[in-house]
C-alpha cells in the first residue's frame, strides 16, 4: 500500500537536512517499506532565510525534473510532494507550499505579536500583566523582530510556533494523512526555532483533537532527529554560540522527561559534533543565514532512511510507542577531520557510495564530458539517416540548449555540486571525491585507484549502447526522461565495472 512520510524540518537545520535528503533522492536513494511519497514541510518563521530559500529552490527543481521523467526508478526515484498537491490533487509546482505559513510574524516584534500593550482589562491590571510578562521575557526579547526567527530563544519560539496547529496548512496535513503514513521531525536543540518547535509539534501530533484524521495521526509512527551543537559562530551577539552546549543539555533533559520518558516518539536520533571547530559567519537570520552544507546534515538524512527501514519496529498505541523510544546516536568509524567513504560505517557506505558516486559522475560528465560528445556521439544524434526513427536520440543539441534542461537539470546539478563542495569545505569535511577532469573522470573516488582508461569514454560507450532501449524512450511531455534514466543505467555500468561502488 502506498504510504507517505511527512518530514517536518524546523528552522534552518531542518531546511538543510531536507536539502541533503533531497540530494540523496536525486542520486537514487529510496525509502524502504513502501514509503513511496515524501512530503517535506518546513516550519520557519524566517521566510527570507537563505537556507530555507535554497532548500525550497532545490525541492522545486527536484519536482520539475522528476515530473518530466517517466517512471523514475533510479535518479529522482522518490516522489516528493507538497501537502497542497496532495490535498488539491494538483500537479502545479509552487515551492512556497513546502513551507508552513505562520501568521502574524512578518515585520512584527514579539511584543506586538503577544499583544503586550493591549494586556489587561484596565490600566492597573494591564500593568500587572505586563510586569508578569517581563519576568518571562527580557526587553530585548520583547523588541525582537520575530520575522527572522527567535535568535536562539526557544521560550519565544514556543509561543509563536504554537499557532501553526490552527493554520490551514496543518488542517490540510490532517486531511491528507492516511493509515500507514509516518512522520519524521528534524530540529536542532541549541537554537530557537527548532528547539521550541519540536516538542510543540510532537505534542500536537500526539494529542491535538482539532486535527482531521486525528486517530491516524495520533497513532502514527513518529521519528525525529535532534541536532546537538555542530558549529560555532565567528562572533557572539544576540545569538551566542558559547551557550549552545548549555542550552542543548537543558533541552535534552527536558526531552528526556517529556518525550523519551513518556514514549511519545518511536525513534529519536541524536547527532552532533562535540568540540567542533566549525566556525561559521554570524547571522541572526534572513538571507544572510545561508550556512554551508555540512556532513552531519547528510548523516541526518540517513536517519530518515533508517527510520523508514525499521518501520516495523515502530508500533504506536494510544499515542505512545509500544516498544518505547529508541534513541540512536550517529557515529563514524574513524575519527578524522576529512571524512571519506572509507571512514563511514559499512551500512552507511553501502547506502551512499553508489548513489552519490553515480550522481557525481553524472553532474561531472554534463559539465566536462558532454562538450566532446555533443553532436558527435551516437547517443547525442537525432539526425542519423537510413535507420529506424527509434534509433535517433532525443538528447541532441536542441535538448541540451533547451530552457528546460538549463533551468531545471543543469540548475539542479549545479546545486548538487555546490552541496558536495560545501561539505568538503566544512569541518569536519566530507570529501569523498577528487576533483574531476575529462581525462581522469573515473578516478573520482578518493582512496581508490581504478585501472585502465579513466576518461568519460566508457560512459559515452554505454550511453551509445543503451540509448535505443525501448524503456528509455520518452513519452510526450517527459522531456528529461531519457537523460535521467539513461545516466542512471550508464553510470551504474561504468562504476560497477571499475569497482567504484561499495555494495
Amino acid at each position: 500500500m502506498a504510504q507517505k512520510l511527512y518530514i517536518f524540518g524546523i528552522g534552518g537545520t531542518g531546511s538543510r537536512v531536507i536539502k541533503a535528503l533531497t540530494m540523496l533522492f536525486a542520486a537514487g536513494c529510496r525509502l524502504e517499506n513502501g514509503f513511496d511519497t515524501v512530503v517535506p514541510v518546513i516550519i520557519d518563521p524566517d521566510t527570507g532565510n537563505g537556507d530555507l530559500s535554497r532548500t525550497k529552490d532545490i525541492l522545486r527543481l527536484y519536482q520539475q525534473v522528476r515530473n518530466q521523467v517517466d517512471h523514475p526508478d533510479d535518479f529522482f526515484g522518490q516522489e516528493v510532494k507538497t501537502i497542497h498537491e496532495l490535498a488539491d490533487h494538483s500537479a502545479g509546482i509552487n515551492p512556497d507550499f513546502f513551507q508552513f505559513r505562520l501568521n502574524g510574524v512578518d515585520g512584527n516584534s514579539f511584543r506586538k505579536y503577544i499583544g503586550f500593550e493591549e494586556l489587561g482589562d484596565n490600566p492597573e491590571a494591564g500593568e500587572d500583566d505586563r510586569n508578569f510578562i517581563r519576568l518571562l521575557w527580557s526587553e530585548a526579547n520583547l523588541d525582537a523582530d520575530i520575522s527572522v526567527g527567535f535568535k536562539g530563544n526557544p521560550h519565544m519560539g514556543s509561543v509563536v510556533l504554537n499557532q501553526f496547529t490552527s493554520s490551514d496548512d496543518f488542517i490540510r496535513f490532517g486531511q491528507t494523512f492516511s493509515p500507514g503514513d509516518a512522520i519524521f521531525i528534524i530540529n536542532s536543540i541549541f537554537g530557537g526555532t527548532g528547539a521550541a518547535g519540536f516538542p510543540l509539534l510532537l505534542k500536537n501530533l500526539r494529542g491535538n483533537s482539532e486535527i482531521p484524521h486525528r486517530v491516524h495521526v495520533k497513532d502514527a509512527p513518529i521519528g525525529g532527529i535532534t541536532y546537538l551543537p555542530y558549529f560555532a559562530l565567528n562572533r557572539q551577539d544576540e545569538i551566542n554560540s558559547e551557550s549552545f552546549e548549555e542550552k542543548a543539555k537543558i533541552a535534552l533533559d527536558y526531552y528526556n522527561r517529556t518525550i523519551i520518558g513518556q514514549n511519545r516518539i518511536n525513534a529519536l536520533y541524536l547527532i552532533g559534533n562535540r568540540g567542533n571547530t566549525n566556525v561559521i559567519p554570524y547571522a541572526v537570520g534572513g538571507k544572510e543565514q545561508k550556512n554551508n552544507a555540512h556532513f552531519l546534515e547528510l548523516a541526518g538524512a540517513l536517519a530518515v532512511l533508517d527510520f523508514c527501514k525499521n518501520r516495523d519496529l515502530h508500533g504506536v498505541s494510544g499515542g505512545k510507542a509500544v516498544n518505547g523510544t529508541r534513541v540512536k546516536e550517529y557515529g563514524i568509524e574513524n575519527e578524522t577531520e576529512t571524512i571519506t567513504f572509507g571512514d563511514l560505517n559499512l551500512d552507511d557506505v553501502k547506502k551512499l557510495s553508489g548513489p552519490l558516486t553515480k550522481y557525481r559522475l553524472f553532474t561531472g560528465y554534463l559539465e566536462k564530458g558532454l562538450p566532446r560528445a555533443l553532436g558527435v556521439s551516437r547517443w547525442t544524434r537525432s539526425n542519423i539517416r537510413l535507420v529506424p526513427l527509434s534509433n535517433n536520440s532525443v538528447l541532441d543539441r536542441s535538448y541540451f540548449s533547451s530552457v528546460e534542461y538549463n533551468l531545471q537539470v543543469k540548475a539542479f546539478n549545479a546545486l548538487f555540486d555546490e552541496w558536495i563542495r560545501e561539505m568538503g569545505e566544512n569541518k569536519p569535511s566530507f570529501i569523498p571525491f577528487r576533483e574531476m577532469t575529462a581525462d581522469t573522470a573515473l578516478n573520482l573516488v578518493r582512496n581508490s585507484a581504478p585501472k585502465g582508461n579513466l576518461s568519460f569514454r566508457a560512459l559515452d560507450v554505454w550511453n551509445c549502447r543503451l540509448i535505443a532501449r525501448d524503456d528509455l524512450r520518452a513519452p510526450v511531455g517527459m522531456k528529461h526522461s531519457t537523460l535521467i534514466r539513461l545516466f542512471g543505467l550508464s553510470t551504474e555500468k561504468v562504476l560497477t565495472k571499475k569497482e567504484l561502488i561499495i555494495r
Binding site: R378, R381, I384, R457, V461, N463, C464
Partner: protein, 149 residues
C-alpha cells in the same frame, strides 16, 4: 563463384587477352579469380565488422569513416597485388611457367602489368562493397550507427 569472378574481370573490366590465354586459364583453373574475388568482398567486410562492432570509440566522425574506407581500399589493393602476383608467377602451372620464361613470347611483360590492374579494380570494388556494407552494418551497430551519416 569462380566463373562469376572470371566473367567479371575478363568481360566487365576487360582484363583479358587471347594472346596470353595461358595466364587466364591458370587463374581460372587454379582458383586465382576466386581468391581475387574474395579479397574485394572479404577484406572490406572484415574492416567494417571491426569498425562497427569491435571499435569502442564513441566519438567517431565522418572523417574516421572515410579514413577507414580508404584504409580498407589500400589494404585490398596491396593484398590483391600480392595474391595476383603469386597466382601468376608461382602458379604451379608448368605451361605458364614455360611461357613466362620464354622472353620472346611477351608473356612476362604482359603478366607484370596484371597484378596492378587487378589491384586497382579490386580497390575500386572494395570502396563500393565497403560503402554498401557500412549501410547494412550500421543498422546493427550500437556505437557507430551514425556513420557514415
Amino acid at each position: 563463384m569462380n566463373e562469376l569472378f572470371a566473367a567479371m574481370y575478363e568481360s566487365l573490366f576487360g582484363v583479358y587477352n587471347a594472346n596470353y590465354l595461358e595466364i587466364f586459364t591458370t587463374l581460372f583453373d587454379f582458383g586465382g579469380y576466386l581468391r581475387l574475388g574474395f579479397l574485394f568482398i572479404g577484406l572490406p567486410l572484415l574492416f567494417w565488422l571491426l569498425f562497427y562492432y569491435l571499435w569502442k570509440y564513441p566519438y567517431g566522425r565522418f572523417l574516421h569513416w572515410l579514413v577507414w574506407l580508404l584504409a580498407s581500399a589500400v589494404t585490398v589493393l596491396v593484398a590483391t597485388w600480392l595474391v595476383a602476383d603469386h597466382a601468376i608467377f608461382d602458379s604451379g602451372n608448368q605451361a605458364l611457367a614455360d611461357a613466362l620464361g620464354d622472353a620472346e613470347s611477351g608473356y612476362k611483360a604482359y603478366a607484370e602489368e596484371l597484378p596492378m590492374r587487378y589491384a586497382l579494380i579490386n580497390a575500386g570494388l572494395s570502396l563500393a562493397v565497403g560503402f554498401m556494407a557500412s549501410l547494412v552494418m550500421k543498422q546493427f551497430s550500437r556505437i557507430q550507427m551514425h556513420l557514415p551519416f
